[in-house]
């Protein structure tokens, strides 16, 4: 456990949702840029450049936040032994729960990429 030391743990609690917010802004920004610069017209195999970039960005965001969730969950698990944890379990639980919730939110938020029209 390296990151889970005080008071950085407060930042870790906020990190998952901060990454979610970053993913939302990035997806919205890339979509806007793609529509302006005509990325929908550039085909990359079965996908156009616009949708390919959005898919990549979305999945990458989900992956990064999921990794954070996995890491914070492992901190929580390692604090279940007999030794007193380096931080109150409550804060470790909160960090893990916020990260997991943020990963789920990022996944759900990006689902429209699979279907909705991009620039209409």
């Amino acid at each position: 456990m390296t990151l889970a030391t005080r008071p950085v743990i407060l930042l870790v609690i906020a990190l998952g949702y901060t990454l979610w917010a970053g993913a939302l802004v990035a997806l919205y920004g890339v979509l806007s840029l793609g529509c302006v610069f005509g990325w929908e017209e550039v085909m990359l195999g079965p996908l156009n450049l616009q949708r390919g970039l959005l898919l990549l960005l979305w999945l990458l965001s989900v992956l990064v936040i999921a990794l954070l969730a996995w890491q914070t969950w492992s901190w929580l698990q390692s604090a279940r032994g007999d030794r007193p944890p380096p931080l109150p379990r409550f804060t470790l639980w909160l960090a893990a729960a916020c990260s997991i919730a943020a990963a789920g939110a990022t996944f759900f938020m990006g689902l429209p990429i699979l279907g909705a029209s991009a620039c209409i």
Binding site: L24, L54, P88, F90, C98, A101, G110, P112
Partner: protein, 842 residues
């Protein structure tokens, strides 16, 4: 150092602490800075604004009760509905929960005051004066009249040529100083100023909610402040920012407004939810079910609410996929909201609820807020939203959310904490009548509005034809509105009767477990005669004799030492005691500073700019006077706190509350700066009329040197701090002089660039570019002021190896200025280079 001598008796201790913490009588009350006095003032003033907003609502309902009404004309009607929304959102809801937070938090956290009493007082006066500007304009018939969200181009100069829109932009910005200062104060206080032993998992649930809300204010309000500054610059100086004929875009205003505006709904709801989470366990006679899940839900709502802003803009022509992102986020926020609702219901179901007046209002909250939430999910669905957009359905929805989610919990809170505020019990059972009048009146008014909206009645129209068939619905809504008003009038009567004639209450009349009921009732100026050590989540339930022990001085700091106003700061995670915080006492400085700030804002409104500059200079001079402090002239070392423990005073500690305050101020600053950069990119990509006819040129060298100066200033700030920590104050002074010189150079260089910058009235590109330059220049100028302050502190012997707080705060500012300056100037140079290329543009 020896333990200080304790007072001979609890009564003597009370008198000594009252002398130190209390305000003088008469006009001396204006110098009060303690949280109890300020909290009461916020609550009473906010309620007065609520009454004014309510009267305005009655005027609206009177006008549209029937078709072809001639009660008021369209000009007055526009002012009335604009001011109703503005007053309720900015002058009632936010200050009301701030008032409750300021009054309750120190007591709940088991401490004597908030971290920055003068800042709280300054915020109150800014709120009062800013709100008064708006009311004065209303009385003079020059109130804002473009809707509470001031959409451009309606609020732009060609379509709103009078002073009305300026009153909104300047008055509300003035009021927002209060929100920002309260947010910083609340945030630092919750994190640091708690009773020893109160770790994060032992914090009262209301504190968790307010922690989330404070962060939301710091991130959510700056975009609106920026938007207001830019729109006022367009209106007053003709800058091109929202004008599509000059490279601007009205949608930029909508983005900036709703990045603030949607979180604002949750900024209002979450404190109320915190009160609900506090009251329900007491009424149910058991602990809150799922404490940590409720904390998780509050944090989740806080974040997710920032992803919803575009759902207010579904009808402006945004691509379907983008609508999908925001629609998904709008649905997601229902999940943590539902978690809270089920936690409250579960608490009630597993307890033995008492059905008294606070509980009645909580039941009303459940019914109304859940209905508002359901219609919220409906309008989050894009096709449905397009059908009901800008109709009375939306008016009904947000009143169900805001009145259900804020007013009903606040009424419950008022009845719950009134014995604490007044020390008296209710006389009659008027509260029941109040509830039923307000509940029935509210539903009659607003439930029918769903139908009025589905029948197609648009918002904000001042009259309508009989043939539309809206008459009976509107008439019933208006009758409901007046029934509700009678209920609120009865509420005022009930409160006054209780406060004046109610029988005295004993301590902890509800049998609560939280620490605010461990103070004397009504509370004293110092709150706790001594500070408790917290060992559980339900300290008062575990130790019912705690109030007597604390009053007898058996806790920490149970003495009056050197006329100091002392409290304790703790480790923000574990709650271990870390510092003694010495707070400032009664002073007129906040009032005088707010008056000077008011001079600045009123002069801006009247466009008397020399006077505005004078107001600004006086405000800065006043703030300079705030820096006097009793613990600045000598090292005090570790001082005893009462149980054998010794702690350093905050001026000799690593990360004092004021250091954290600057950290959070810079968070808000960064949100404003980010919004400015977003504005540039948005206009470049989306707005018509790009590329601009002229870009910044011949300024690259000056900009690069300015960036180097900013980085050098940051480095010099670090060297000065390092020298001070070694005790080499002379060297600190030397590095500080170079630092000041670097900031002077930056100011001069940026001023030189501004003289050659493109005309901001010609194109939005120039407007945003100049705004970024001014932003960096102002930060360098503030850095210079901080350097001058450090110089004075060193010269007067206020800096030593132990006392380097001024330099630490300065380092934070210089570091931020360097980063923001490099990003800002780099962006300007990059955009100019790219736009300068043939074929670039939006």
């Amino acid at each position: 150092m020896n333990e200080p001598v304790r007072s001979a008796s609890p009564v003597e201790l009370h008198h000594e602490l009252t002398r130190i913490w209390g305000a003088n009588p008469g006009l001396g009350q204006l110098a009060a800075v303690n949280h109890t006095a300020l909290g009461r003032r916020f609550i009473v003033t906010a309620f007065l604004f609520f009454a004014i907003g309510g009267i305005l609502a009655m005027l609206v309902r009177a006008q549209i009760a029937t078709s072809h009404s001639a009660f008021v004309g369209p000009e007055i009607y526009n002012q009335v509905f604009t001011m109703h929304g503005t007053v309720m959102m900015f002058l009632f809801a936010i200050p009301m929960f701030e008032g409750f937070a300021i009054y309750l938090l120190p007591k709940m956290l088991g401490t004597r005051d908030l971290a920055f009493p003068r800042s709280g007082a300054y915020g109150y006066w800014c709120y009062l004066f800013g709100g008064s500007i708006l009311l004065l304009a209303l009385a003079m018939g020059a109130a804002p009249d473009a809707g509470w969200f001031m959409y451009t181009p309606l609020s732009s100069k060609p379509f709103s040529p009078g002073i009305n829109a300026d009153v909104w932009l300047i008055g509300i910005t003035f009021v927002e100083i209060s929100a920002i200062s309260a947010a910083i104060e609340v945030l630092v206080s919750i994190l640091l100023i708690r009773a020893p032993g109160m770790s994060l998992d032992r914090m009262p649930i209301f504190a968790w909610y307010m922690l989330v809300v404070a962060v939301m204010i710091l991130v959510g309000f700056p975009p609106l402040i920026l938007g207001s500054i830019l729109l006022e610059a367009e209106r007053a100086f003709g800058w091109a920012l929202f004008d599509p004929t000059r490279g601007g875009d009205s949608l930029l205003w909508q983005h900036l407004f709703w990045i603030f505006g949607h979180p604002e709904v949750y900024i209002i709801f979450l404190p109320a939810a915190g009160m609900v989470s506090t009251i329900i366990p007491v009424m149910a006679g058991r602990e809150l079910l799922g404490y940590r899940w409720v904390v998780l839900a509050a944090i989740s709502v806080g974040f997710l609410s920032f992803g919803l802003w575009v759902h207010h803009m579904f009808a402006v022509g945004i691509p379907h996929l983008a609508l999908g992102f925001f629609s998904a986020a709008s649905m997601l926020v229902a999940i943590p909201t539902g978690v809270q609702i089920f936690a409250w219901l579960g608490t009630l179901m597993s307890g033995r609820p008492r059905f008294n007046v606070p509980m009645l209002f909580l039941c009303g909250f459940f019914f109304i807020f859940v209905l508002g939430g359901l219609t919220g999910v409906m309008v989050a669905v894009v096709p449905f939203d397009l059908q009901v957009h800008d109709t009375y359905f939306v008016v009904a929805h947000f009143h169900y959310v805001l009145v259900g989610g804020f007013v009903f919990p606040i009424m419950a809170a008022a009845y719950y904490w009134l014995p604490h505020l007044t020390g008296r019990q209710p006389m009659f059972q008027l509260g029941h009548a109040v509830f039923w009048l307000v509940f029935i009146g509210f539903n009659l008014t607003f439930f029918l509005m769903h139908l009025t909206g589905l029948l197609g009645m648009p918002r904000r129209i001042w009259t309508y034809a009989e043939s539309y068939g809206w008459d009976w619905l509107n008439l019933l809504s208006s009758i409901g509105g007046f029934v509700m008003t009678i209920g609120f009038a009865l509420f005022v009567l009930d409160i006054l009767l209780q406060a004046r004639f109610g029988p005295k209450t004993g301590r902890n009349p509800w049998g609560a477990a939280s620490l605010e009921w461990a103070t004397p009732i009504p509370p004293t100026d110092y709150g706790f005669a001594s500070i408790p050590t917290v060992t559980s989540h339900r300290q008062l339930a575990d130790d019912p004799d705690l109030p007597r022990k604390l009053a007898a001085g058996d806790g920490l700091l149970g003495f009056a030492r050197r006329n100091w106003l002392e409290t304790i700061a703790v480790d923000m995670i574990t709650g271990e005691p870390r510092q003694i915080v010495l707070l400032p006492g009664r002073t007129f400085l906040p009032l005088l500073t707010a008056l000077a700030t008011g001079l600045f804002f009123v002069s801006l409104l009247l466009q008397v700019y020399p006077l505005a500059i004078a107001g600004l200079v006086i405000t800065i001079a006043m703030f300079w006077l705030w820096t006097r402090h009793p613990a600045r002239t000598a090292d005090l070392g570790r001082l005893p706190v009462g149980d054998g423990t010794t702690l350093p005073v905050h001026t000799e500690s690593g990360q004092a509350p004021s250091w954290w305050a600057v950290v959070f101020l810079l968070l808000a600053d960064a949100a404003l700066f980010g919004s400015l950069l977003f504005g540039l990119v948005f206009l470049w990509v989306v707005a018509p009329g790009w590329p601009p006819p002229e870009v910044l040129s011949d300024s690259t060298a000056f900009a690069l040197i300015a960036m180097a100066c900013l980085v050098a200033a940051a480095g010099l700030g670090r060297l000065a701090l390092r020298a001070a920590r070694r005790g080499a104050v002379g060297w600190a002074l030397v590095w500080n002089r170079f630092l000041a010189a670097a900031h002077v150079a930056t100011v001069l260089l940026l001023a030189a660039i501004l003289t050659t910058a493109p005309d901001p009235t010609a194109h939005a590109y120039a407007g945003v570019t100049v705004a970024i330059l001014v932003y960096v220049l102002v930060h360098a100028a503030v850095g210079l002021i901080l350097a001058l302050h450090v110089w004075q502190a060193c010269r007067r012997g206020h800096v030593s190896a132990a006392r380097s707080l001024d330099l630490m705060i300065g380092r934070l500012w210089h570091d931020y200025t360097a980063v923001a300056g490099v990003i800002g100037l780099g962006t300007i140079l990059g955009v100019a280079a790219m736009i300068g290329q043939p074929g670039a543009g939006g």
